[in-house]
């Protein structure tokens, strides 16, 4: 049994079926990159897995337990943390408050403090800006804040929706490097949604390529990177 098991999953927005009978699985501690172009259904998939929207068909389990039909606030408590698309921070709050949100439901306040300290060591730029309103941060800093907040929840499964969106190449490198270090250090299982196929597949163990809601192919990311046909058709480089 895999850690994350998605079978025949379909998700619709009214008449549009954005995810169609999608199946894939990920092992504990793996980083899977979900690659697809605009409108492929990547965001829809993550939103269904984190409980924000209902699915219409199929199953999704995390360590044997069904994710579907659970509320996001309960899934967070079960270790499934979703960093949504577009720098998921609360601009009306300052950096410190945004980070505090990550551990707001946790009972173990000592470990929240430890986790917060770890995040500030990982992203020192956040430490310099603790009192600063989140809407004054740069795009990269916001993404660090969003990921930092997720880490303070002590996730087991991290769902990341296009962390590279709108960032300069150098910052993307830094963010991906941080993600890669973290998941090894914390033994995280990560579902990384990206259009930025090259950077994502470089750090991923497996790649899952989707197109208009359906699976194109999946496999070890090295093989996908080496496949000339795929590169031309879906990876865009």
């Amino acid at each position: 049994m895999s850690a994350l098991d998605v079978k025949d999953l379909s998700v619709s927005h009214g008449a549009i079926t954005a995810v169609k009978k999608l199946s894939f699985s990920i092992e504990q501690g793996q980083l899977a990159a979900i690659i697809g172009s605009n409108g492929a259904g990547k965001t829809t998939l993550l939103r269904a897995l984190s409980g924000l929207i209902p699915s219409s068909h199929g199953t999704a389990t995390w360590n044997g337990k069904s994710l579907l039909g659970e509320k996001p606030e309960d899934l967070v408590r079960a270790g499934i943390v979703h960093v949504s698309e577009g720098k998921s921070v609360i601009p009306e709050l300052n950096v410190k408050e945004n980070l505090a949100l990550g551990g707001i439901w946790r009972k173990d306040k000592k470990d929240v403090a430890v986790a917060t300290e770890e995040v500030l060591e990982l992203f020192p730029r956040l430490r310099e800006r603790l009192q600063q309103s989140a809407d004054t941060l740069s795009g990269g800093e916001r993404q660090m804040l969003a990921i930092g907040r997720a880490l303070i929840a002590r996730p087991q499964l991290l769902l990341l929706d296009e962390p590279s969106l709108g960032l300069a190449p150098l910052i993307i490198e830094q963010i991906f490097e941080a993600i890669n270090q973290l998941r090894h250090r914390l033994n995280l299982t990560v579902l990384l949604v990206e259009q930025n196929a090259m950077s994502a597949l470089k750090i991923a163990d497996v790649g899952i390529i989707i197109n208009v809601g359906s699976l194109v192919t999946s496999g070890p990311s090295k093989e996908l990177l080496a496949d000339a046909n795929l590169r031309a058709a879906y990876l865009g480089y």
Partner: protein, 298 residues
């Protein structure tokens, strides 16, 4: 002396507007709903306090009952009525206006309900504090011990809620849930529950307003209606999402009214409320302390 007297009259009526404005702001902050039912809720909680006072013969014991009652009524409205409404009309512009219209309907409903239970006659809800103004030398100022408790009450309610919002996890959750409900849920906040708590806080503030102001006048099913209008204007002056702004707005409005009453006449005070409202909306639509971002995603 007339100027100072007028100022004092304005201060105590302004403190009541401030309490009502606080109630409206608390609901607005937590659910982005303008709560017209607030006047009805405050009346209902005040009648509750009145009943307790009739049995215990203590004004001071009746106040906490009114407050808890007010909180419970508000929590009920949000958790039972508005939440099921939201489930039915979850998309589109209707979903934004439906709860506001529902609160308007609730106002009528609560008012006829209180009329049925308590009748429409004026009753007295009496405070042990004197309603007579303090003496300074030979001059009696228009500011009584009851007025003092009203001003203290308004500042206390503001202080308590401002502290909760700024310094506690509950306050953080309340702010986060009102600004970005979806991100808040992803951070593990039970947004529905938090919103209901925001409503309960508002209901409590409204109950304080009713229980403190009523001894200076009388109690009837619609005796707080004008307060709703003034409270709303005060809230808008204060920026609709700022607690301190609500109190400043209330005090400014109270003082403004007092001066109009003194120097122009009673006939214009009510229309003055609307003129002030419109002027504020034109000149400074986000109020004196309203936040830019708060308005933008409203």
């Amino acid at each position: 002396m007339i100027i100072i007297d007028t100022l004092l009259i304005g201060l105590s009526s302004g403190a009541i507007y401030a309490l009502m404005a606080l109630a409206l702001v608390l609901v607005w902050r937590s659910t982005r709903v303008v709560n017209f039912a607030q006047a009805g809720q405050a009346i209902l909680s005040t009648y509750l306090g009145y009943e307790v006072m009739n049995r215990t013969h203590s004004y001071w014991i009746s106040i906490p009952f009114a407050i808890v009652g007010g909180a419970a009524i508000a929590a009920f409205i949000d958790a039972v009525i508005l939440r099921s409404l939201a489930k039915r009309s979850h998309k589109g512009s209707v979903s934004e206006i439906a709860p506001v219209i529902a609160t308007l309907g609730l106002l009528g409903l609560i008012r006829s309900l209180t009329g049925m239970i308590w009748g429409n006659a004026y009753v007295q809800y009496i405070s042990p504090l004197s309603g007579k103004g303090y003496m300074i030398g030979k001059h009696t100022i228009p500011f009584s011990p009851q007025n003092l408790i009203i001003v203290i009450g308004a500042l206390l309610v503001m202080g308590i809620f401002a502290t909760i919002f700024k310094f506690t996890n509950l306050g953080l959750a309340l702010r986060a849930a009102s600004f970005q409900p979806e991100i808040s849920r992803l951070a593990g906040i039970r947004v529905d529950r938090i919103r209901t708590i925001g409503w309960a806080f508002a209901g409590a503030a409204g109950a304080v307003a009713g229980a403190l102001v009523t001894p200076t006048t009388y109690l009837s099913p619609n005796s707080l209606d004008l307060l709703l209008v003034s409270g709303f204007v005060a809230a808008v002056i204060g920026g609709l999402d700022s607690l301190i702004g609500a109190v400043l707005g209330g005090l400014l409005l109270g003082v403004g009214f007092a001066f109009i009453l003194q120097y122009i006449g009673a006939s214009v005070t009510f229309s003055a409320a609307f003129i002030i409202l419109i002027v504020v909306l034109f000149v400074r639509p986000r109020g004196i302390l309203g936040s830019k971002v708060g308005r933008r995603d409203a």
